[in-house]
């Protein structure tokens, strides 16, 4: 077994433990408000997982995850608003729309490098948001769209969102264990070298964009009926910033970082709500500190701590 397989497995199992804790949480967390906070954290966790695939693992600085969540949400919202179609049927449509737009965006940024990918995806995200915000007759613009609920109460949403996070995590784990995981990381580290070893960077980068966009879109489709009202604000760059900070703080390019980061950052933000938007400054500073000094995020720090424990030394450097 390859070394990255062992690393992946540890991260994947760690994430399952965290998600199991989240599943048990409503036993003690009976506040409907805080259950809602966890639901929104999981909504962000999905976006973070999607973003991590294309940016953490593939190295393409995509600044459009929130825009794709918005696309997914509007897929559900528009079908329901105009044709009275159930949100359940809107989910595959919203996901397909996000994936299709992701395909287009992926093809556009394919020949671009570094900062140009960031700038292009950022502009693309803003254009999407402005189009939705200004297509009054279709989307009702900034008024937003009402989306019918699909459940009574909070807990069904809670467990639906959690179940989807688990399923997507399992799917991502399978993807990363396949040759796709190797190829994406090779593309991230050196595109020229990857192509020189037979890897079609066009194909794998495009696929990473499509899958990532679909996951972000899926997040939006599930969020819409939970929130009951969606607006172009879902696609704000601020929300993308939140996704980025979650992954960087949790551990970029790891299976577990996006989930840990989303839960921590979003709930911390809620706790700090009274102090106004200052918590955003704190997150921004944390992102800088982590990006500069702790590239592995919280997960990386935990690993470092574990490696220092007596008896664990050097095990990482030995091949089994």
């Amino acid at each position: 077994m390859g070394n990255s397989e062992r690393r992946l497995r540890a991260e994947f199992h760690g994430s399952l433990v965290i998600l199991a804790l989240v599943a048990a949480l409503p036993l003690v967390l009976t506040s409907v408000y805080w259950q809602g906070v966890v639901i929104v954290s999981l909504y962000y966790a999905l976006q973070a997982m999607g973003w991590n695939l294309v940016t953490g693992y593939t190295g393409q600085m995509n600044l459009a995850p929130a825009a794709f969540a918005m696309v997914g949400a509007y897929g559900v919202g528009l079908l329901s608003h105009h044709w009275g179609i159930s949100p359940w049927l809107g989910v595959p449509v919203g996901v397909a729309a996000a994936a299709g737009i992701g395909l287009v965006l992926g093809r556009i940024v394919l020949p671009l490098q570094g900062a140009y990918v960031a700038l292009t995806t950022l502009s693309f995200a803003e254009i999407l948001r402005l189009v939705i915000g200004n297509s009054y007759s279709v989307t009702r613009g900034d008024l937003g769209l009402n989306v019918p609920t699909v459940f009574d109460g909070r807990l069904p949403y809670y467990y639906l969102m959690l179940a989807v996070v688990v399923l997507v995590q399992i799917a991502l784990y399978a993807l990363m264990r396949s040759r796709m995981g190797l190829f994406l990381q090779a593309v991230r580290d050196d595109e020229v070298a990857a192509a020189s070893r037979g890897v079609s960077i066009v194909w794998w980068k495009t696929l990473a964009f499509v899958v990532s966009s679909a996951i972000c879109g899926l997040a939006g489709t599930l969020y819409a009926p939970f929130a009951g009202l969606i607006s172009p604000e879902l696609g704000l760059i601020l929300n993308t910033g939140l996704v980025v900070s979650m992954v960087v703080i949790g551990g970029m390019g790891t299976m577990i970082g996006p989930i840990v980061g989303a839960l921590l950052v979003y709930t911390a933000g809620e706790m700090l709500r009274e102090v106004g938007d200052y918590h955003l400054i704190v997150f921004a500073l944390l992102v800088i500190v982590f990006a500069r000094f702790f590239r592995g995020g919280i997960w990386g720090l935990l690993q470092l701590g574990a490696d220092r424990l007596p008896g664990r030394r050097e095990t990482g450097a030995r091949e089994g």
């Binding site: 990381q185 090779a186 050196d190 070298a193 020189s196 037979g198 960077i201």
Partner: protein, 239 residues
């Protein structure tokens, strides 16, 4: 049919010829040295053979199939494997996984890639660092690793750009032995090197470039004793 045929290959950078209508053939199983002073166009020529640069003119044909316009990854799968003068490895994946990228990229299944990678790690004395991220290897180990990725699947032809430069003698010895052994088994190489004793010892035939053109092509001893070649090297050193 010629194994590798290079016909009239040329490349200009801003009007200046880096490679100027270069013709040469490589026969199957040959180990050809490509020499020439700094800036004579060796790396540019390799870039056109591997697909990293589109030529301004000329063709590259491998076993009768024209590959001149084939993209890099398809050329790699066609068996043209290339090692860069400035080492390129995947820094944030392990040494073993670097080899697996090449194995899977070139079409091996997971099991065969792993078997092959383990054998290469042993042969190149990289087994002790198999689990380390390649970014943590020494310069020489990185070079050995990139060298290894060329041989995950036996290439039709291996293009090696200064593999022995700035490498610890023990590692140079490992690579040198590897090249000689594979060559004895019929592996075809094009070897760019500055190191005249190495070229003299390893290559029966050498091609010498100067200012983008081929100055001499033939028996290595004859090429190295060619007054024009000596002149080019002295001129290069004086510059």
């Amino acid at each position: 049919m010629t194994f590798l045929k290079v016909k009239g290959l040329e490349k200009r950078f801003g009007g200046r010829h880096a490679v100027d209508s270069v013709h040469f053939d490589v026969a199957a199983g040959e180990l050809v040295g490509l020499i020439g002073p700094n800036g004579s166009g060796k790396t540019t020529l390799l870039n056109m053979l591997s697909g990293h640069l589109a030529p301004d003119g000329g063709t590259v044909t491998l076993e009768g199939r024209e590959v001149t316009r084939l993209p890099v990854h398809r050329r790699a799968r066609a068996g043209i494997l290339r090692m860069f003068q400035l080492t390129r490895v995947f820094d944030r994946v392990s040494t073993l996984d670097n080899l697996l990228v090449a194995g899977r990229g070139l079409g091996l299944n997971a099991r065969d890639a792993l078997t092959r990678a383990r054998a290469l790690l042993d042969e190149l004395s990289l087994s002790p660092v198999a689990a380390l991220d390649a970014g943590r290897l020494s310069g020489g180990q990185r070079k050995l690793l990139e060298f290894g990725t060329c041989f995950m699947v036996p290439p039709r032809i291996a293009l090696l750009d200064e593999p022995f430069a700035a490498v610890h003698p023990s590692m140079r010895e490992i690579m040198g032995r590897f090249v000689r052994e594979r060559h004895a088994l019929g592996q075809t190489f094009l070897l760019v090197s500055h190191d005249m004793p190495v070229v003299r010892e390893m290559c029966e035939r050498s091609v010498c470039m100067n200012a983008g053109s081929i100055l001499a092509d033939g028996n290595t001893e004859d090429v190295l004793n060619d007054p024009a070649v000596i002149e080019a090297y002295l001129g290069g050193e004086a510059a």
